[in-house]
Amino acid sequence: MSNKAARIGLTGVVLATAFGVLLYSSLGESLQYYKYVDEVMAEPAAWHGKNLQVHGTVVPDSIGRKDNSLEWRFDIQRNGKVLRAYYNGIVPDTFKADSEVVLTGTLDDKGFHATEMTAKCPSKYDAAPVNPGSRPSGGA
């Protein structure tokens, strides 16, 4: 009986370790830091070259697009800190001035080069803020 328990225990330990190691090693490559604009801009150089998701709001009148292309340039900000962002591709419907976006990509001296853009999409579960101008609600 104890022999059996030991076998089960050993199998469990081996499996758990194997999964743990696999999980940890695969995690390393796909890890992304999730930061708000002001956190990144506090020390931009520290973030150069890292996989990064940046969360902020689009600065009004900063959105520009190269003619006849899908190359976008805009600023995102939070708490007064502003970050210049570049994105090539189709933007979501909800991408506009003052909308909340999460950009995935990397940072360098010129700004943030996004490979992916998600705009907070509206949900049934969160209605329009009751007082416009208050803290942008954490979800949408």
């Binding site: 999964f19 999980l23 695969s26 995690l27 796909s30 890890l31 992304q32 830091y33 999730y34 930061k35 998701q53 006849n68 292309s69 899908l70 591709g89 189709i90 933007v91 419907d93 909800t94 506009k96 999460v102 995935t104 998600t118 705009a119 907070k120 999409c121 509206p122 949900s123 049934k124 579960y125 969160d126 209605a127 329009a128 609600s137 954490g138 979800g139 949408a140």
Partner: protein
């Protein structure tokens, strides 16, 4: 009205508390009267919740905007259909909807089982009541849907977001809730068994059906959510491992595991602790999923807003659930000892065990990756996230392994498979799989994961086909009938097993569709009129951009011609709609050309009206439709498993007199449903036959009725009157029937404005299907009638050719269902 609603909720809470307390008292004193009183109180709860639901629906319908919830989720121009569905549109209402559904489900479960499981029922009432009390408490102290404006109330509502005014979005949440709520019933029975100590397998029998029903709703809910994302959000896919999606997937994994392991306990008396633990875990995950999506713990593109107070309440409830539930499991461990041990790893129970571990690991992994940002913030003080590629990297091999097991499991015998067994049963399926693998390799499929998936799919289909065929042959020999009747009889004798195989077949189709993802092609291009872009074997040409206005919204439509190998393939109209009330967020109207081989999926991303330039995203999505078909087959399989015995009596029971006649009449009625349907239309006045014809072919755009313009019965329907006006206008312009329909399709930007798709291409399937079904049914009727009218032939000596297989089948057919 608002105060009436609130008092009803208070009353519901009191009744719930009474039901919980009196049931415990009744069970302890063994007083029939007290127990009956508890059951009665629970029925009363259902009645109260029905009335409260009626109150809130009534408030939406009449537009009582003094109630905050009504004001925030509807407005006066909203179509009636979406006014009704706004009930579960917001957080507060969705909790109330949850409570109502659970009270109805619970009442039904208690009613059905009150005699059969008399010793469990009082505690079942208690457990469900306590869960209900938690959600009622939430509503009363924190999320009261009947809260009113204290001072002046607004005169109109803010309206539901246009993205969510979509047919699938209206029916997807209630389907998910039905699945979630239904999983409370197995938990309640499991807990009742633990509390009372009646831990024989009878509680399993009580919950089997409920788990299947909930699992069905959960699966359909997930499928509908995928279709909604695919058709409405316009990013070309259907699943992106968003926390909200994952929340629905977690209990699905554990419920699937339970549906398999429950068979091991029934057959072999093993895995008893495991099954109780799975039921508890599944229930916990439904609550946890709700918590995750409602409280702002997890960041998501469509998270639901921060609510620390809600998070705190949920945490207390979840901790209490885990401690109490598993406390009882530990307390009852001596009673849960397994009656048997695993004989061999080459047995079906071992296959089930491995399947369970993998499913449970999937749930654990998805939970871990979903919660990873929150975990890392708690541990490292820094928010780290993992994206969809991480999920895919892990779930791909896991999914393929599960698919492999789906093929292996049914081929193994219970207890221990002999070498002879293995050779007999694996030969055909493995050959099929290998042949497919070789064919796939020779055809030069470049995505090896998809290639493996195709081969495994063939293997599983081989397994299932062989099971049906061998079973039917054995039964045919034993009963001396024809193969068709033997097959029906086989399914009837063992609905759960063969229904399960149909579900497996559905899963194979779904995986087949997933495998198509590997061949996805994607292109984005900025096109002036006349310019084109090549994607795979398709060429997409932008012809023109049109801007129209229907009063409610501005519609910018790109007119696109798709060519394949130089030949015209389809005309498509991707569009952007800008609603008057929501000008800041235009909606994307995707154009999809569906096919068995692939979908051509076009999105109008941006446009420049001055130069007629459009940037168009083109997705070629191979095999996507197989996923939806798989979900359909899955529902059919569960349906078979859940059918009452009586349905199959014609094939199993000795034939009563006149049965054939009755069956013929019944089938005739079923087949002629068109006649019955034609009678409930509301007469409308048409000026010409053409007008009547066109109105019958255009779908009313009021948003929810899905009826034709001539059939939409809504009073003063704005969609209807506008469309009738257009039809009359076009007739006045001298357009003929086809031209009018073409104009509607162009203006609307898609064929979904028509009641029936035009008769060409893939659309022919939709046309053909009813006729195919009718022909098959007629053949079936003729066949059955002929057989039954024959004199009972003397049954041939049932000399089994394959004694071992016969023995195995009979052994398995016994008492399984």
């Amino acid at each position: 009205m608002a105060s009436l609603g609130y008092y009803l909720l208070l009353a519901a809470f009191v009744v719930c508390a009474y039901a919980a307390a009196i049931s415990v008292a009744g069970a302890r004193r063994r007083s029939r009267a007290l127990i009956e009183s508890g059951i009665g109180a629970f029925y009363l709860l259902a009645a109260i919740m029905a009335v409260a639901s009626a109150v809130i629906v009534y408030s939406f319908v009449v537009g009582d905007y003094s109630i905050r919830y009504v004001q925030r989720y509807s407005d006066s121009v909203q179509p009636m259909f979406y006014k009704l569905t706004s009930y579960w549109g917001g957080l507060d209402g969705s909790i109330m909807f949850w409570v109502s559904l659970l009270s109805f489900f619970g009442s039904a479960a208690i009613y059905v089982n009150r005699e059969r499981h008399r010793e469990l029922i009082p505690y079942v009432v208690t457990v469900i009541s306590v869960v209900e009390m938690f959600f009622l408490f939430l509503m009363i102290v924190h999320n009261n849907p009947f809260q009113t404006y204290l001072t002046e109330s607004p005169t109109d509502g803010t309206g539901l977001n246009p993205l969510l005014q979509n047919f699938y979005m209206a029916i997807h949440p209630p389907t998910m809730y039905l699945g979630f709520v239904g999983l409370t019933i197995p938990y309640a029975f499991g807990m009742a068994a633990l509390i009372t100590g009646y831990l024989d397998d009878s509680w399993l029998r009580a919950v089997r059906r409920w788990t299947m029903i909930s699992w069905l709703f959960l699966s359909i809910g997930l499928g509908l959510g995928m279709i909604w994302a695919y058709e409405e959000l316009g990013w070309g896919g259907y699943w992106m491992w968003d926390p909200v999606e994952n929340a629905g997937l977690l209990p699905w994994f554990t419920a699937t595991a339970f549906l398999h392991s429950v068979m091991v306990q029934e057959r072999r008396g093993m895995l008893r602790v495991w099954n109780v633990a799975l039921v508890i875990t599944t229930f916990f995950l439904t609550i946890f999923g709700t918590f995750m999506t409602r409280s702002g713990v997890v960041q998501s593109v469509h998270a639901f807003g921060d609510d620390p107070e809600l998070a705190r309440l949920f945490t207390i409830f979840m901790v209490a659930t885990v401690v109490v539930s598993f406390g009882f499991v530990i307390y009852r461990l001596p009673l849960l000892r397994a009656r048997n041990e695993l004989d061999s790893w080459l047995s079906r129970e071992a296959a089930f065990l491995v399947n369970n571990w993998i499913l449970l690991f999937s749930a654990f992994f998805v939970l871990f990756a979903t919660m990873f940002p929150t975990l890392s913030e708690a541990v490292r003080g820094e928010r780290l996230t993992v994206g969809p590629p991480f999920f895919n990297q892990w779930m791909l091999p896991i999914g393929l392994t599960l698919l492999l097991l789906t093929g292996i499991g049914p081929l193994l015998a219970w207890r221990k498979s002999t070498v002879q067994n293995l050779r007999d049963s694996f030969l055909i399926p493995v050959t099929l799989g290998v042949v497919t693998a070789v064919a796939v390799a020779l055809l030069g499929v470049r995505v090896w994961t998809s290639g493996i998936c195709f081969a495994l799919s063939a293997f599983v289909v081989g397994t299932i086909g062989q099971e049906f065929w061998r079973g039917a042959r054995v039964r045919q020999r034993a009963t001396g009938t024809d193969v068709f009747t033997a097959l029906v009889g086989l399914v009837a004798r063992n609905k759960r097993r063969y229904g399960g195989y149909v579900v497996h077949l559905g899963m194979v189709l779904i995986f087949f569709g997933f495998a198509g993802e590997g061949f996805k092609q994607k292109e984005e291009a900025q096109l002036k009129p006349g310019q084109q872009v090549k994607v795979g074997s398709f060429v997409v040409r932008h012809d023109a951009l049109s801007i129209t206005d229907d009063g409610q919204k501005q519609m910018i439509t790109a007119h696109v011609t798709v060519l394949r190998d130089g030949k015209p393939f389809a005309e498509m109209y991707p569009a952007k709609w800008i609603f008057r009330k929501h000008e800041e967020s235009p909606t994307t109207e995707v154009a999809i050309n569906r096919g068995f081989a692939q979908d051509v999926y076009l999105v109008l991303a941006t446009f420049d009206a001055a130069t007629q330039t459009a940037s168009i995203a083109v997705d070629i999505n191979p095999l996507v439709n197989w996923v939806w078909m798989g979900f359909g087959l899955l529902a059919l399989g569960i349906g078979i498993a859940l059918l009452p015995d009586a349905v199959f009596s014609f094939a199993t029971a000795p034939l009563p007199a006149n049965a054939a006649t009755t069956a013929l009449i019944f089938l005739a009625v079923v087949l002629s449903q068109g006649v019955a349907l034609a009678q409930d239309t509301i007469p409308a006045i048409f000026r010409s036959p053409l007008e009547r014809q066109v109105a019958g072919e255009i779908m009313c755009n009021c948003g929810g009725c899905r009826l034709s313009v001539s059939d939409c019965g809504m009073m003063n329907c704005h969609g209807k009157s506008g469309q009738m006006g257009k039809i009359q206008q076009y007739i006045a312009e001298g357009k003929d029937h086809d031209a009018i329909l073409a104009t509607f399709v162009r203006e609307h930007g898609g064929y979904d404005v028509l009641m029936q798709p035009p008769n060409r291409g893939f659309n022919r399937v939709a046309w053909l299907l009813p006729y195919v079904v009718a022909v098959v049914a007629l053949l079936g009727v003729a066949f059955t009638a002929r057989r039954w009218s024959r004199h009972e032939a003397a049954a041939p000596d049932a000399a089994p050719i394959d004694r071992e297989l016969d023995a195995r089948l009979e052994d398995e057919l016994r008492n399984l269902d």
